[in-house]
Every structure is written in C-alpha cells, then in structure tokens.
Symmetry: C2
Subunit: 191 residues, 2 copies
DNA sequence: TCTCCATGGTGATAGCTTGTAACGAACGAT
DNA sequence: ATCGTTCGTTACAAGCTATCACCATGGAGA
C-alpha cells in the first residue's frame, strides 16, 4: 500500500469515487422523481448495472447514502450563498439566489429544511456547513447596514422559508397567486 | 340487509368504525414516534392483535390510511380555528392557537404542511377543508379591520409557517433562541 | 515477471414491508 | 334453523434492507 499523496489519486480510489458519484447522481434523480422516502439502494444499484448488495461496498447502508446527499445539499447551498456574497450581492439578491437554488430541485431543498425524521440526527459537519450558511447570510445583513443584522438574518430565514416552502409544496396551487410576487413582497419586508 | 337509517348504526358497521378508529389511533402514535414514512399497516394490525392482511378489510391500503389521517389532521386544524374564531379570537389569539395545535403533535402539522410526496395528490375534500381554514383566517383578518385582509391572511400563513415549521423541525436547536419569542415577534408584524 | 491479498462483484439468505388469494369461521338477517 | 355477507386466518409473490460466503480481479511488492 503506497499511501500515495493522501488525495484519492490511487487508481482504486479513483474508481471508488467514480462509482460513489454515479450512485449519488442516480439517487438524486430518484429522489427528485419520487421523494427521499422512496430512495432504494437496490434500485440505484440495478440502474448502475450491478446487482443489489454490490453498493454496500460503497455505502454502509441507505442512511449513509441519504446523509451524503444531505451533506451535498448543504454544501451546494453554502456555495451558492458564498458565491453570491462574493459577487457583492445585497439581501434581495441573496434571497433570489436562494429561490433559484430551491426551484432548481425542490426535493433537495426539502432534504435540508423539510419534514424531519424523528429518529435522525444530523452529523456534526452538516451543522457546521449550516452555520457557514448562516454566517454568510449574517455577513450580507451586516454589509447592508441594517439596524439589527441578527434580527434581519432571522427574518430572512424564517419569512423566506415560509413563502418558499409553501410554494415548493404546491400549497398555492388552487388559489390564484403569483409565488414570485409573493416572494418579492416578503423580500421587501427585510431591512 | 336492513339499510337502517343510513347512519352507521348497524352492529356490523359500529364494529367496523370502531376498528378503523383504533387503527387510526395506533397509526397516529406510530407517526408521532417515527414519522409518516415509517407507518406500517402490518405493525398497526399486529399491535391490534390481528394478523397482517386483516386490516386490508378496513383500508384499501397504506395510502388510504394515510389519506384518512391527513383528512383528520385538516379537520382538527379547521375545528381549532373555527372554535377560536367563534370565541372572538383576534389575530394573535388565532396565531397562538395554531402554535399550540402544532406543538401538540408536530408530525400532524407536517402531515399537512410538510414535505410533499411527488406522486401524491390530495383528494378534493381535503382541499375543501383547507379552504375552510383559509376562510376562517380571512374572517378574523376582516374582523380586526386590517387595511388589506387578504394580504394580512397571506402574511399570517407564510410567516407563521416559516417560524413554526423551523421550530418544529428543530432547526433552532443549536443557536440560543427562544422560539416562542420569535413566534410572538412575527405575530407583531401582522397588521 | 510472478505472487498474493485487499477489493469488488456475485448469489443465497433472513427478515421486514405491501398487497392478493384462498379458505374457514362467525355473525346476523330472513 | 338456514344461508350469505363479512371477517380473520394462513399462504404467497414481489420488493426492500442488510449480511454472509464465495469467487474473480487487479495492483503492490518481491
């Protein structure tokens, strides 16, 4: 075993990472189609051309795969926020970036902010990324010299999650509403 | 077959309703403990002392049981709102009644306003009850002579759902926050 | 180059789930 | 008392998670 520069550049590890990545990709598709509760390791494995238990060489079980997806979702949102902030976004810009990110894959949003599973406890590093997200948000609130940055950040979080999650859940369906206008209206309340 | 006054007062129907009610009760307990996705017809049946497939005489399948629970949840919330409104509640009172109702059984709240299952389509009568809930809310908004009742009702819905769902999901866990104070602060924004 | 072992893939198996089918018992209406 | 609907049972198919034993392969070192 050559230990090899510690970054996974061993041919074996490269292949391993490739398989894991492909599995996660298919898992995302399955989740987008039928929701997280319908995610099946077996189905993913078969779609990859290998038989059931093979995937257990790559993930200890269904839980680890889902946890990995949750981690990726957090990471993706954190990156989106970081990029927006780095580009000099103000609060409305950040809000719209959030909505775009959520609309791109609603189930990904719900994986983070949706109905919690009573038994599940998020691993430490996801809560770390969560803090990173809040920190970025707080930074933008501070840069916009709002009177109370922390209160503004909280309002950003709770109010935008309110409209956004209801929109994504399709709760505005029947009633004749424009979700985007509603979202913009909530943005306008943030100071 | 005696057709009997059309209300289920036939001994057979009484028993049937009883079994259905007990099954739903156990289902609620199971959902409160492990979430809706972990609801198992089999487990409910066994807990009732009867063997697996017996429950299929009472529910066409898992979906019908869950749909029934969703219906009951809507009904319960509609009643809570109706009672509050009848007791002359103003907007803050109604908001606090909502929070109490949600905290009493978070999974019941999420059954209505939580992560949607991509395939599932709610039956017509639940959307009817949903409208009833919105109507009650709109009525209270009108009675409090707010400038724009509909806009106020919408803000009530989206903002309170925002804080409440994050609280119920445990998203405020790590950070040193008082959910009730946060909820009250959002109430104060409703005019 | 050859050996050898960790790695990866397979089928078999246990135990759970949803649901259907076939059979027998019980209950109630006539 | 009879007779048919309803109810509960066991048996079964198909799917899932997850573990196991076994076999092939590929890369690291001699």
């Amino acid at each position: 075993m050559a230990r090899m520069a510690e970054s996974g550049t061993t041919p074996r590890e490269r292949y391993r990472n490739q398989v894991r990545a492909e599995a996660k990709q298919l898992a995302w598709e399955q989740i987008a189609a039928d929701g997280a509760s319908a995610l099946s390791l077996n189905a993913v494995a078969k779609r990859m051309g290998m038989s059931g238990p093979a995937l257990y060489r790559y993930f200890t079980g269904r839980d680890e795969l889902i946890t990995e997806l949750i981690r990726d979702a957090y990471r993706s949102l954190a990156d989106t926020f970081r990029d927006a902030a780095a580009a000099g976004a103000d609060l409305p810009d950040l809000a719209r970036a959030l909505r775009r990110w959520a609309l791109a894959d609603p189930q990904r949003y719900f994986l983070i902010y949706g109905t919690p599973v009573p038994g599940y406890h998020a691993p430490a590093d996801t809560t770390t990324i969560s803090s990173e997200i809040m920190a970025t948000l707080l930074g933008v609130c501070g840069a916009t010299d709002s009177p109370a940055p922390f209160a503004t950040a909280l309002a950003f979080w709770t109010r935008l999650h309110g409209v956004l999650s209801l929109e994504l859940a399709g709760q505005f369906a029947g009633m004749d509403l424009d979700p985007e206008a509603l979202f913009e209206a909530e943005i306008a309340t943030l100071r």
